[in-house]
Symmetry: C2
Subunit: 191 residues, 2 copies
């Protein structure tokens, strides 16, 4: 866990590599750091609070969403948690088997499934969340409350941008060409 190459060093190396090609450095550094920070933070949480509760990051997020918002339809949970519907099916089933989550069908619309915490799940979150927040405070220790607010604002702008314009952008980039299929995933059935 030593410290990486310094930013300035990296900048210089990039500059040397791409002397002529015009590169927007500010954006490059920002994006690189978003990912690095996310990985570092996630790692820290999984290896501290979450490990003790036998939760992964994803399963915690799912529990958290349902905890905060109460009984919810699965598609909304998936969206809030930032995972696909398919992934949620697996995660929620695991949580259900551990007695933390309930899955009930919607009373009037038979297609929907509702998720809700059990008492045990409720209890676990009441216990884990304060510890989780304590780690949030720890990782942000070098930032003031105000800086945290600024950080959140800036990040939110990026999220909004990709969510509101990303799809359109991707289509535009393809420029008519058919998109390469994903390497993984179920193959389309020919018929």
């Amino acid at each position: 866990m030593t410290v990486h190459r310094s930013i300035r060093e990296t900048e210089k190396a990039v500059q040397a590599k791409l002397g002529d090609t015009p590169i927007r450095h500010a954006q490059m550094v920002a994006v690189a750091n978003i990912y690095r920070a996310a990985a570092a933070v996630r790692q820290h949480f999984e290896n501290s609070v979450l490990r003790g509760a036998e939760l992964t990051w994803t399963s915690f997020v799912v529990l958290w969403v349902v905890w905060i918002w109460g009984e919810m339809e699965t598609r909304h949970v998936a969206e809030e948690a930032g995972i696909s519907k398919g992934t949620l099916t697996g995660v929620s089933r695991t949580l259900q088997s551990r007695g933390l989550l309930e899955r009930n069908s919607h009373p009037s619309d038979g297609r929907l499934v509702l998720l809700r915490l059990t008492d045990k799940g409720e209890q676990l979150m009441a216990e884990v969340f304060p510890a989780f927040n304590a780690e949030e405070v720890f990782v942000a220790e070098r930032l003031t409350d105000e800086e945290c607010g600024t950080l959140a604002d800036l990040l939110r702008k990026i999220v909004m941008q990709t969510e509101e314009n990303g799809e359109e952008r991707r289509v535009a980039l393809l420029d008519g060409a058919d998109p390469r299929p994903r390497r993984s995933g179920r193959r389309p059935s020919r018929s």
Copy 2:
């Protein structure tokens, strides 16, 4: 890809859930947004530039690191790329099989392995990186250059904090107790 519940709404729900328990909201929101932004950005890149080049995010990062820094020992590459050495073994082998990366043993220390881009790899990066940077500019479109700098600074503080104090913190949290084993991982063979 609609927009999530508003921050203010979430805040209110959290408040209702934890009226008495003291929670630091600023840090909570900041951390939550780091992860959301990272996921959104990664998704966008994988579905735009990287898909066309048949690269995953991770494999791109590995190539990028080696591209910028030149021939490098694997452990350093893993650290810079933010992945485990085991994962790097797999990723680099894949890249090698595609003729983008070379793996040579260290001339004086036989334990080490050095990674270097092949000409084909150089060529690919020279082509992909500008496109990648264009997407970085796209996702950061709602931020000024200065704001990008601020964002990078704030994130860097978080990375530094977790990297420099994270390990210590995790040990302190355990307070002598033996850490829970991970649920996954290879089982010890009895013999």
